[in-house]
């Protein structure tokens, strides 16, 4: 599974430009699925099983896209000014490297700050691709890039850019692989444009029209020096979301996932996230409403080029999803 994760996180596919990672995921899921389709926005929608007499139509969603940058201006000297795609913060940019989907690579530099203890604004940052003039700059306005950073295997802990949310893509692929027989009609959606506002999950949920919706995404932790307070820690198991900034999980679905984990003797933790949200928010509000929750992979340093997760949490998330689908899903 680590090889799969490495391939996923080393692919550059920012929001709106998910074609490359979609090809990679499709190659993995096609032999395992009963149906694979791509909708108008580019969501990859993968079905396994047909709804049996005791089954429900359940949609999982992990987003394929990642945060990135887009060129807004090439100046006279060939430096590239840029805007952000998704929640990029200036302090994670300086000195970082970006890879345009056209193949061009560059580093992020900054103007001399007015005061050394001030954080730069994006207006003060630029991408240097080694050009010397506008004419010889290989980047055009509108070109999109992702951050690059090699995959790092620390044993139990693994680190990469775009663990958010390729780690959940890996979880869904492995859950699909492990899912031999189910009474449920299971949709694994690999969604687009989550980082810019849950846009892909909105249309995918309309198309799938699920009876249960569960996103699979990363969540923050409270286990690093002077971090904000949060009960979630790396290595304590997948987190079952109770609420986040924009969604209250269906309590019946939370109970069901907790009981499933306890019966299967899987570690788990309960998650209350103050800010941020996931595809489950969009699924919950689709059509006439859908009971929804989220299986979260605890992750340190989210939206930096070095996001860290615990490999055991990842494996246990796969097990939790497979266990959930092995039994009737009855909300009460």
């Amino acid at each position: 599974m680590k090889n799969l994760i490495q391939k996923l996180v080393e692919t550059i596919s920012p929001s709106g430009y998910e074609g490359t990672v979609r090809d990679l995921i499709r190659a993995e899921v096609e032999p395992l699925a009963d149906e694979v389709r791509v909708d108008a926005l580019g969501n990859l929608i993968v079905r396994k099983g047909k709804k049996g007499p005791n089954g429900v139509r359940v949609m999982f969603s992990a987003h394929m896209d990642e945060i990135g940058v887009m060129a807004t201006h090439i100046d006279e000297k060939g430096f590239v000014r840029f805007t952000t795609i998704g929640g990029v913060r200036p302090h994670t940019c300086v000195g970082g490297r970006v890879h345009f989907i056209t193949g061009v690579q560059g580093v992020i530099g900054m103007e001399r700050p007015e005061s050394p203890d001030r954080q730069p604004t994006f207006d003060q940052l630029f991408i240097d691709v080694g050009a010397t003039s506008r004419a010889d700059c290989p980047v055009k306005v509108g070109d999109i890039a992702g951050f690059t950073r090699p995959f790092l295997d620390l044993g139990d802990k693994i680190v990469a850019k775009s663990m958010d949310d390729r780690i959940a893509c890996a979880v869904q692929i492995e859950a699909l692989r492990a899912l031999k027989k189910t009474d449920h009609e299971v949709y694994f959606v690999f969604s687009v444009q989550e980082e810019v506002g849950l846009r892909g999950a909105t249309t995918a949920a309309y198309g799938v029209d699920p009876e249960i919706g569960i996103s699979v995404d990363v969540t923050g932790t409270g286990d690093t020096p002077k971090s904000g307070f949060m009960e979630v820690a790396l290595g304590n198991g997948p987190a079952i979301k109770v609420r986040d900034g924009r969604m209250l999980s269906d309590p019946r679905l939370v109970d069901l996932m907790v009981k499933t984990a306890e019966k299967a003797k899987l570690p788990y933790q309960l998650e209350i996230l103050e800010g941020g949200t996931t595809d489950a928010t969009a699924i919950q509000m689709a059509r006439a409403g859908v009971p929804a929750s989220c299986v979260s992979i605890p992750c340190r340093y989210i939206h930096s080029p070095s996001e860290m997760v615990d490999y055991r949490d990842v494996q246990n998330a796969v097990r939790l999803i497979v266990e959930l689908l092995a039994h009737p899903i009855v909300l009460k």
């Binding site: 929001s15 709106g16 430009y17 998910e18 074609g19 979609r22 791509v38 909708d39 108008a40 926005l41 580019g42 969501n43 887009m70 060129a71 807004t72 201006h73 100046d75 006279e76 000014r81 805007t83 795609i85 306005v141 509108g142 444009q193 810019v196 846009r199 892909g200 909105t202 249309t203 995918a204 309309y206 198309g207």
Partner: protein
Amino acid sequence: MASNDEIRAQIPQIGPDQIALLERLSNAVGVSGEENEVRAIVLEAVKPFADEVKVDALGNVLVTRKAKTANPVRVMIAAHMDEIGFMLINKDEGGLFSFEKIGGIDVRQLVGKTVLVGKKRVPGVIGARPIHFTTPEERRNLIPMDQLRIDLGPGGADLARVGDRATFATRFKQAGPSLMGKALDDRLGVATLIELVKHAPEHVELLAAFTVQEEIGLRGARVAAYAFNPDLAVVIDSTPANDLPVWDGSENARYNTRLDAGPSIYVADGATLSDPRLLRWLFETGDALGIPYQLRQPGGGGTDAGAIHRVRGGVPSVSISVPGRYAHTAIGLARLSDWQNTLALVFAALMRLDDRLLADERR
């Protein structure tokens, strides 16, 4: 598909009639939520050419122009009828009214502007104490919204009531190649879409949405797209040209768009990441026909596409804007050439459209 020369010969032209219609549209009052006057002009203009015309529950004008061929691509084109403005919120003494903004307006732009209030278009002014009675300290500071009033003059209290809308009183002017008016955002789009309804290519089903309530959150477009359920959508709007020189002489890296550089095509704004297939379609059209175009600098803001592309199972969408200086102030300035080229680019793109455009998945 028609040849490029055939397409070029059929491109609708902006002439005196079109400019006269834009003048009527720009002078009409249509603050978000009360678009009646604009809607009446649109209905009058499109009825002779439409196969179906409907005004929906929110007030959108939904026009269908059917194809003359089988299995056409169903294209939604949207332009918003509403404009920014004001609403009276409290009747104070002596014909003065407290008011709030509808849509995105910079408070610094308001003092000294004339306005038209309510259905009867009562003239008023957003006044301020003259220099004779202000201190240097006061003159350094912004006058906040809660200290501004719309003044209908002594005795004006009976001429308007709380809940009335108001708009800038600016009248449309043409000065050679320049067009100036108060609601060019987005009456330029409305006027363009009217021409497209009149000249719709026969092989596409044109679903024209003249939308309401764009300026306060893309509200009309959402329900319009739900009703039309189109194969793809093009939004025609107006976007700021911030192409003036920078005061310190440095390079202007935040121009957004430039006047006379042609229609501005959106790759990304705050609400939409345009479908790359539709971008290539517009770029290839411009290149093949020799129609100038520019890219709007990616960044914030949004158009009706932000609502349309998320409707139902998703709608491939792109936006294209006529650039204009001084957007969301009392007067905007746009160029005839940019308007003509916007109409030309969208028309030519429709002429070149077939179902191969969306045959491959988005990438």
